[in-house]
Amino acid sequence: MNKLELSSLYQLTMVRFRLFLREPEAIFWIFIFPILLAVGLGIAFRNRPADVLQVGATTAQLTQALTADKGLTAVTVDEAMGTHQLATGQILLLAIQRPDGVVYKYDDTNPDARTARLVADRAVQAAEGRRDAVRADNDLVHETGARYIDFVVPGLLGMNLMGSAMWGLGFSIVEARQKKLLKRMVASPMPKWQYLASFLLSRLAMLLIEVAAFLTFTRLVFGVPFRGSLLELGLLCLMTSLAFSGLGLLVASRAKTMEAVSGLMNLVMLPMWILSGIFFSASRFPKLIQPVVQALPLTAAIDAIRGNMLQGTSLAQQPAPVAILLVWMVVPFAVSLWIFKWR
C-alpha cells in the first residue's frame, strides 16, 4: 500500500467518487438531465418567424379587415362563441362590432393579447382609411446572445450547480446519519474535518466534468457565446458550488431522516427555482420583493454567470452578485459547522 492509499483524506474522497459513480440515477440527474433540458428548451424556443396571432371578430367585414394584416388570422364568430373561445385560449382577442364603433375584448395581462390588440386596431383603422403619419421601416436582427437559449443556458447552469451541490452533500450526509454510519465514523479516529472536506473535494472534481460537459454541449449545438473570461466563469461556478455545498451541509446538519432532509431541501430550493431567474428574468418580480430576490444565492450566481457569458462583464464590474455569493459561501458553512450533529 503506498502512502497516498494510507491517507484518510484520499480514502474518504475516493469513497465519495465510488459511491457517486455506482449510482446511475445520480449520474443521470447531474450530467444528462441538464443537457436534455437545454435541448428541449432549445427546440421549443428556437428562432422562427414571428407568431401569427389568432383573433376573432363578430362581423365578416371586421374579419376581412383583420385578416388583411400579416400578423393576424381572424375567424368570424358570434359574441357568445367568441367569448367562449377567448376563455379557452383559442383566440387572443375578440373584435365586437357595435353601432358606435369597435370594442376589443382581451386579457391585458397576457403580452400576446396586448400585441394582438395593437395589431388588430392598426388593421381596423387602416381598413377605414387611416394613413401613417411617419414612414417606418424594419431592420430585423437575430443576434447570438440575444436568443432565449442564450438566456436560459446560464440559468440552467446555475440551477444544476445548486441541485448537484445540495443533493450531493445533503442527501449523502443524512443517509450516513440515518444508517448510523456517521456515528461509526466519529467512533473511529477519523479527523472530522476530513469527512466534510472529502465531500468538497469530490464535488470540485465532479464540478469540472459537469460544467465542462454542459457548456461544451451548448456551445457546439446552440453556439451559445462565451464573451467573458473563461477563468472567471470557472471561478463563478466554483463559488456557486461552494455556496450551495454550504447550504446543503446546513440543511443536513440536523435532519435525521431522508424524508426530513428532502422536505428541507425543497423548502430551500423551491423559492430559488421560481424567483432566481432561471427561465425568465428575475427583474419581472415586483419591486417590493426585489431585495429578497436579489439576495438569493442562485439569483446572484445566475446574474453573474449571465453577465460573464452574454455581456463579457468581468467579476470586478459586478461586485454586488459576487459579494452576495461570497456571503453565502461563508455563513451557511459557519452555521452548519456550529450546529452539526454527528449522530
Partner: protein, 352 residues
C-alpha cells in the same frame, strides 16, 4: 452476589485494569438510563454486560466508547480518559456499534481500506479480512452480504487498528443460529489472542459461552457481577425444576375442541368461569422438601431451584400427590444466567 465488586478486588492486581467506571450516571429526559455503575475490566478479559433491552447496556458501553458524555462519574480506559486523551484513545480502541450500515455500494475491501486509513498503526487490510473470514467476499459489495457477514465486516472495521480494547455492542443480535456460532468462534479467537473485549448482549447463552466475567444490568444498575459459574452458583441451586399443577383430581382434562397450547407440554386451560385456573400449592410444602432452595411462580408455572435433582424430584411428586394436586407440566434444566436474572428481578429477560 448483588455486590460483586468485592470478588473483583482480589483479581485487580493480576493483569492490570483496562477499563474502570466509578459512579457513572446518565439520564435522558427523566429516564435514568445508567444509574450509578461501577465496573472494572481487567487486561485480557472478555467482559459481558448482560441485561434485557432498556437495561442501560448500550448507554453504558457508549459512555465507555466516548460517544456519550456521562452526567456524573469517572471513566478510565487504559489509564486514560476521554476529556484529556480522546485522540490517543480513538487510536487504541476498536468499536463495533449496534446496527451500523456500511455503504451498500462499497466492497468489503474498500470499506476496510477506508477504516484502516484512520489508524496510525494496525494490522493490514488483508489480515483483517482473514481474521473476519471474509476472504471470499473481499471484492463483493456490502449490500450483497448476509447478516452474519455484515456483522463480521463490522468486527473487522473494529480490528483494523489492532485495538488494545475492543467494544462489541450486541454483536449477534438478529443473526441466525449458525451465523451466531460463527461469530462466537471469531470472538473466541480474539480472546485467545489476548485482547480485552467488552461486549453487551441480551442472550444468556452468549454471555455464558464467551465471557470470563459478566455484569447483569437492570434499570441502569449492575445487579450482579462475577463469572457465569459464580453467578449461577449464587442463586443457591444447580438445577431448576419447573412445573404446573391442577387442583382437582376429577377433571384435569383439556376441554374438547380447545386448541393445543403450542409446542411442548399441554397446559390445561379451564377457560373463563372455571373454578380454579391453576392449582395452588402451599409454598411451605415445597420449601419443606429437602434440597429445594427457593420457589417462585411465574404465570402459573412454579420454579424451584434445587440441588441433587435426582432425590428431590421424587419427593416433589410425592408431596404434590399427598395434597391432591396433579401435574400438568413438568421439566428440569440446569440453572443458567437466565435463572439468575429471574431470581434477582422476578422477571424473565425476554419479557422486556
Amino acid at each position: 452476589m448483588t455486590n460483586g465488586a468485592a470478588t473483583l478486588g482480589t483479581r485487580v492486581a493480576e493483569g492490570g485494569t483496562s477499563l474502570l467506571l466509578r459512579g457513572v450516571k446518565k439520564a435522558f429526559a427523566d429516564v435514568k438510563a445508567v444509574d450509578g455503575v461501577d465496573l472494572e475490566v481487567l487486561r485480557g478479559e472478555c467482559f459481558g454486560l448482560l441485561g434485557p433491552n432498556g437495561a442501560g447496556k448500550t448507554t453504558t458501553i457508549e459512555i465507555c466508547e466516548g460517544l456519550t458524555e456521562p452526567d456524573a462519574g469517572t471513566v478510565e480506559l487504559l489509564g486514560l480518559n476521554w476529556r484529556a486523551n480522546a485522540g490517543e484513545l480513538r487510536q487504541r480502541i476498536g468499536i463495533q456499534l449496534q446496527e451500523t450500515q456500511f455503504p451498500d455500494k462499497l466492497t468489503v475491501e474498500e470499506t476496510l481500506r477506508l477504516f484502516r486509513s484512520f489508524f496510525k498503526r494496525g494490522i493490514s487490510v488483508d489480515e483483517s479480512i482473514e481474521t473476519a473470514q471474509l476472504e471470499e467476499k473481499r471484492g463483493a459489495r456490502v449490500g450483497g452480504l448476509s447478516g452474519g457477514q455484515k456483522q463480521r465486516l463490522a468486527m473487522a472495521t473494529a480490528l483494523v487498528g489492532d485495538p488494545e480494547l475492543l467494544f462489541l455492542d450486541e454483536p449477534t443480535t438478529g443473526l441466525d443460529p449458525q451465523a451466531r456460532r460463527h461469530l462466537w468462534d471469531l470472538v473466541d479467537e480474539l480472546k485467545h489472542a489476548g485482547r480485552t473485549i467488552i461486549l453487551t448482549t441480551h442472550y444468556m447463552d452468549e454471555a455464558e459461552r464467551l465471557c470470563d466475567r459478566v455484569a447483569i444490568m437492570d434499570h441502569g444498575k449492575v445487579i450482579a457481577l462475577g463469572t457465569p459459574n459464580e453467578l449461577i452458583a449464587s442463586i443457591g441451586g444447580e438445577d431448576i425444576v419447573e412445573f404446573a399443577v391442577v387442583e382437582s383430581i376429577d377433571s384435569p382434562v383439556p376441554k374438547a375442541g380447545s386448541p393445543p397450547h403450542g409446542p411442548g407440554p399441554v397446559r390445561w386451560d379451564p377457560g373463563p368461569g372455571a373454578p380454579v385456573a391453576h392449582g395452588r400449592v402451599d409454598e411451605a410444602i415445597l420449601l419443606g422438601i429437602p434440597g429445594v432452595k427457593s420457589h417462585r411462580v411465574d404465570a402459573g408455572l412454579h420454579q424451584l431451584a434445587v440441588s441433587e435433582t435426582h432425590t428431590v424430584v421424587p419427593r416433589i411428586f410425592t408431596a404434590l400427590t399427598e395434597h391432591g394436586l396433579h401435574l400438568s407440566e413438568f421439566r428440569t434444566h440446569s440453572a443458567t444466567l437466565e435463572d439468575v436474572f429471574v431470581r434477582l428481578t422476578g422477571r424473565n429477560l425476554r419479557d422486556e
